[in-house]
Structure formats: structure tokens, C-alpha cells
Symmetry: C4
Subunit: 237 residues, 4 copies
């Protein structure tokens, strides 16, 4: 069986989704890519988390074709594959239906950056993508979901905004590996709750939510103390 | 003791209700039917979940009359029985007072389909039934609850919209068996939360919630990739 | 040591408060009365739940004077004592700061009866009491809290509405014993969440919450199928 | 290794943050000071809670300079140090990103005192500080965060209002030791939820939230029955 360590890591990342409360039933999936081999490992479709194992994960090439595995891969596999093809800088992808983030996606709204919790990981908003057209949905739905995400990030560094909302659907996130993509999925759910309540509290006080936006210099400070050459958060690992 | 396996399955389904956080105390019940024998197994009334066992479940015929069991069946038994009589296509029924779904039922509102989480299981909204009249409530409350549900689904396939809200009361769901009825009860609670927050987020941005509705072609895609002859989600089981 | 069994029951009731998520730290207390002896057992003041035992519970007479116990009784003891003196029909009292119920108390609003979850236990609303005057607060705060509750229930059967909200403070509930008073405290918290979301959902649809009230005949049906001579819910115990 | 007991206490306080649901990942920190030695112990930066130990906590002097420890201290260390320098009356400091409190901080709003849950610990509101200027953020962000807090408390006793919200960021709290600072962090999160829902319920009933404020005499009663020479809550310890 190939890619033993990658299977382990992709398995662990998938198992972390229900542990963090992001997933009920089978409503989520994580994958990680091996750039040298041009292969990624992803959750099999519709399999319960307590039946997952490193061994029943599915190996696909970057076209999303199964290379090893007896089970069908996640139905979202073409989305993962497209993101890996489009963006060399990412190593892991996660999709969930976590409730607070889905609410923003369903409202068709980007999550504005109201504070440092978001700024620590997102250099700006969590953008909501345009809805897919009828043609896109009918012809190649999951592939076109990937295309709409990449289109929405034109001119934007996906490393600096490591996730988005797909309209009427839910959050996708990514990172240097599957574990970091899970981490960013948790971040999105937490800031989705915080930003929702921020707006309700502004509304209750007849205050404009626009005035609650984090100023650009706060965003710069928080994002850059964690990322880039001048980062000083953590242990410098 | 008859129907040993059916008792087991109905018991497991009932035990899953508090496990999924849908039920506090005894506020819920699940049943499953054996179509060949014309009997169903249901939770006894007002018995704590930690005192339940396959053996103390109650067996009823499709008129809701107890056929085997020392305990009174759930007070909602006539509702379950009526749904089984009216709809051959269902094999299990669940009723809960899960909080987010109850809020929609109390508001007298159907849950609009704002996204794919709902579309994966409901081909449209989760409909809220009309309120029972005073006469219906006073004469045969639980039976008439079943009649109002079936009336509300006239022209609608209960398999394609496997649940509803009873006004001022709470959610009922169903499926091919009790386990799937529980699954749909979880779906209803999750989408009740998501749809509530979707509307709050639309309101906060002075945006019409009507514009947030999932388009029909997205609904078609998601429902039909999981159901029917062209389904491709899961392992084809 | 006196009242061994009553100490056990009062202890268990207190321990159930954090178990049901109604209490953080020491923010709650439960008591149960022995009507024959004219004594009740209550939680000691400010003692952590994991340091509680049947033995360190405090025994008081109906004036709230300590009869047995080395620790100070709950600071709310005069409220419990006054309710026991005023209402022969109750056997247990509970006070918590459960979050959703406190929000209604802080808003100074009674919880309207929007559905059957409430109607099963409350024959009507969960009433919010008037605020205490400055004089009442300064002179005998905890005793006067009891007086304001009893005043608010003038003409109302406390068995049929087994709890209330004290303005700017939180819920008090009662029952035939401490365990039932805890049960009613859970009911209040659950319906507080449901009613809050009911109103938000009515607001989001520009619908009057008044139209969402449970009709009187539904209230009659649900309350009376669980209580009184014609009750048929449960096992007739 | 110095300050063995202080390391233990600071470690326990940090571990209590995720236990109380205030922290996900590494989004929080607690410290405690030894006034005699002029040293405080704080969490290392970006280290997972399950890798923490009393031994890997970091010892700093009141300028925030590391005195003992192989790891970098929390990036918020200059804020903790400044608060210890400014206020002799405090012995522990906590910072979290607990969701409900962050929402108030992001809305730029102080939490009004709507009831006794808050009044038991805060003699008034939980104040929201002014936003830091671009210069403050760019020059000495964490130090200036401390300065802005102390400036915001000019004329206010930090013991009587043991916490605040830093705008667009989140809550800071303090107490006589790290454990009490954690306690106050829990209080802030609980009252943040209660006050949010209080305002939503006032809004749903077209009622002014200003009318829901706890009257001054209730605030006096509750705060002073727990604090100061006339306190009578608890066991007089």
C-alpha cells in the first residue's frame, strides 16, 4: 500500500473534524497532497468517521482519478484536485458544513474582519464566492466549484486568506498540509460565530457594523506578527 | 417475546436521540414498523432513556393498539400509527423537541431551503403544518396530528421531504427505518440553526432572505446526486 | 446527624444542576423540605459542587434559621424559607443563573407560551416578577425576593406554573420535591432558548410574535394530558 | 528551577482555560505574579495546552524580560507586565478570545450591567477600551495594549471591575491570583452571552435596553454582599 505516512496524516486530519465539532455524520472531508509524487489522499465518500482508517483512505492523482483504493473517493474530490492543480502553495484542503460558517455562505456574505482573532490567520475577510451558474452546476458541479473558488481568488494570495465560503453551500479551507487546513476550518467557524454576534450587537445599539471593522493597521500588525520574516509569535519553529 | 430484531433497532434509534443532543428527559420517541406483520415497535411513555431496553419497548398494530408490552406506549403512538397507515413508503418515525427546530415550529414557519446541507436530504423546504383546530385537539389530538401532517403533504412525496414541523409543537421526521428517521431528525435540527442564522445575517446587512434561497438547479443537483437512479454520492450501497 | 434521606435527596438535586448545564461555579442552589418536621435541607453558601456531600448540606427551619450544620447556608435561604412558608403545595425549590433564562429576567419579560414544550409543564407563561424596590433590596433582600414572588403569584396556582423569573436576576423554580424543582429549572432554560429564537424568527419574517402564541385549547390539552385526574401521559405512576 | 509553586499555580490556571471552554488551540494565556520577588510566571507562546507543564512555563520580571525558561513567553507578556507594574492590587492576569466576549469587543461596546450575575463580580459594566492608534500598534503593540487598559481605568478601581474588553480584540481579566483571573474570564463570557440575549429580547419586544439596566441599589446590594467588610456570601473565608 502506497503513501503510508500521507494516509496517516490525511486520516488524522479527517478524524479531527468531528473532534472539533465541525462535522456531523459524514458532512466533511480532508485531503493532503504529496507534491513530488503528484498524488493526494482523501476520505472515501459517505463513510462514517468511526469506520475510517488510514488503509481505507483513497489515493488520487491531480486529475482526481483514483490510483489506489477500493472505495469511491469523496464526491468533492474534483474540487480538491482543482485547487491542488491551481495553487502550488497549498498542501491540504478541507470542506465542512460547520453551522455558523454555513449561515454566512447561505446568506451569500463574506465574513468581514472585525478583529484580531480573524486577523491572526486571514489577511482580510473570509470571502464568499459567487454562486455557480446553472450550466456550471449541471455540467461539472464539483470541478466547477473549484474553478469558482480559484476565479474568486484572482489577484489574492490563497496562503494569506486560507479559506472561503462557497455560496449556498459552506466553507472550504486549505493550508500547508491537511492539519493546517483543519486548523483554518476551526478558525472560520469560530470567527463566523464572533462576527455574527458582533453584527447583532451593533444592530441592538443602532451602530453601523462598518464602524466595527478592524482598521488596516491592526490587521497588518496581527497578521504579520504571526506570518512572514518579521513574525515573533510562537517559538520560531 | 416477538420481534426481537425490530425491538433492538427501535431501541437503538431511541437511544440515539439523546446521544445526538435532540432530546432532554423523555421529550422524544422513535418507532419502526414491520410491514409484513403490520406491527411497529415504539418507546414506552414517559420512561427515562437510561431505563429503556429492547425488552420494555412496546409493540403496536397499525391502529396503535398494544399487541405486546406491559407499559403504555408513547402518547404520540396514534400519530406514528396514522403515518404508517397513510404512507407505505416509510419504515420509521421520530418525534423530538429539539430546540432550534421547535423555534421554527413555534414561529409557524417552514424552513426555507437556503443551501446544500438541506438540499442533500430535503427536496425543498421543511414544511410547517397548519395548526390543529380546537375540535381536532379536543377530540383525538394525537391521531389528528397525524392527519394534519398527511393533509399537509397532499401532492408531496414524503420520501423526498422526510420531515415536517407541527405548528406550536415540534419536528416529526421519518425514513426507510427508525435509524434513518433519527438521521433526518438530526438534519432538521442542524438546518434549523443554519437557516435561523442565515436570516439574522441577511437582516444585519439589510438583505432580503428571499435572495438567499438556494436556486432550483442547485437543489436538483444536490438532492439527485444522493438520491434516485443517477446518485453518485457514497459507495453505491 | 438528622434527616439522612432528605440530605441525600437535596444533595443529589444540587449535583444535578451542573450536570444539566444550568450552573457554573456555585451559581445555583436546591433545597427540599420535610413538612412533618418543618425543616428543609439546602446547599451551603459558596461551596464548590465537587466539595458538596450529603453531610455538609445545611438543615434549616422554616424561618431559615440553621438547625444543623457547620457551614453557612446559601445566601438565598430566606427566599427558599419564605416560599415554603407561603405555599404548602411545594416540596422543593431551585435557583440558578442559567444563561437563556437570565436573559429573559434581565429583559424584564415573562416567557410567553409559544408551544407544547412549555405547555407540558407550565399552564401559561413563565412570569417575570416586578423589580424589588430600593427599600426591599436594602432591608431584607433575600426575604423580600420571596415576598415579591408570592405577591406575583397572587391568584395563581404555583403548582400549575412551577417557576418564575426574578427581574434583573434569574429563574426560581419549585416542585413536589427537589428533583422536580430541578426538572422545572431545566424546562425553563430549554423554553427560554426556544422562545428567544421563536421571536427572532418571527422578527426576521416581519411576523407578529403575538400570532405565534399557543392557543388556549392547545395549552389545555397538553397541560391536562400530563396533569390532573384525566392525565394519560406516562405510566400512571 | 525557581518559583516551583508559582509555576504550578500559573500552569493550573492556564489549563483551566480550555476546560472552561474559553480557549481553542493556543488562543489564551494566564499569568501570576510574586510581588516579593518581582517576578511573574506566564504561558510560553504558541505552545499547545496538552504540551504545557509547570516546568515549561516562563518566568519574567516586571519589565517582561525572561528570567528563566527556554521558550519564548506569550506574545502578550508586555501587556501582563504593564498591568502588574501599574496595579499593585492584582496578582493574576488572563487573556482569552472567548467567543461571546470577543463579539462585544469587536462591536466596540462595553457590556452594560443588566443583572445580578454581573453585579456579583463587576461593580458596573465591563468596559470596552478605546482602540489603539496606528502609532501605538506599530511601535509597541502589546505594551501599548496595557497602557490603553490602564488609561481606560483612570479613576476606576481595577479590583471592583476586574476585567475589560480591548477593542477589536477580546477580553482581559485579572484578580488576586491567576485562578481568580480565570474565574473572572468565565464570568465575562457568561455575562457576554446573557447581555447579548437580553438586548435581542428587548429588541424583539420593542423595548429599550436602557430600561433593562440593573438599578444602582441592586448593584450595590449584590456587589457588597460578596465584597468588602459587610460581605455575607460564602463561608467568610
Amino acid at each position: 500500500m502506497m503513501l503510508k505516512e500521507l494516509r496517516e496524516r490525511a486520516y488524522e486530519a479527517n478524524m479531527d473534524l468531528p473532534k472539533h465539532g465541525l462535522v456531523v455524520f459524514t458532512w466533511g472531508n480532508a485531503s493532503e497532497v504529496d507534491r513530488d509524487k503528484g498524488l493526494f489522499v482523501i476520505k472515501p465518500s459517505g463513510v462514517d468517521y468511526d469506520e475510517l482508517s488510514p488503509e481505507n483512505m483513497v489515493v488520487c492523482d491531480l486529475d482526481g482519478t483514483v490510483v489506489e483504493g477500493d472505495l469511491n473517493p469523496s464526491s468533492d474530490t474534483p474540487t480538491h484536485a482543482y485547487l491542488y492543480r491551481a495553487w502550488d502553495s497549498i498542501g491540504g484542503v478541507v470542506h465542512t458544513h460547520s453551522a455558523a460558517a454555513v449561515a454566512w455562505a447561505q446568506a451569500g456574505r463574506s465574513i468581514p474582519c472585525y478583529g484580531t482573532t480573524q486577523a491572526d490567520y486571514f489577511y482580510g475577510e473570509v470571502p464568499c464566492m459567487r454562486g455557480l451558474t446553472q450550466e456550471e452546476i449541471e455540467e461539472a458541479y464539483e470541478l466547477d466549484t473549484g474553478k469558482v473558488i480559484v476565479e474568486g481568488f484572482a489577484g489574492t494570495d490563497p496562503v494569506a486568506q486560507p479559506g472561503c465560503l462557497v455560496r449556498n453551500h459552506g466553507p472550504f479551507s486549505w493550508g500547508k498540509d491537511a492539519a493546517q487546513a483543519v486548523y483554518h476550518a476551526v478558525v472560520i467557524e469560530e470567527i463566523a460565530k464572533m462576527a455574527r454576534d458582533t453584527e447583532l450587537l451593533c444592530g441592538a445599539a443602532d451602530k453601523s457594523a462598518a464602524d466595527a471593522l478592524a482598521p488596516q493597521y491592526l490587521l497588518d500588525k496581527h497578521y504579520l506578527r504571526k506570518h512572514g520574516p518579521h513574525a515573533y509569535y510562537g517559538q520560531g519553529k
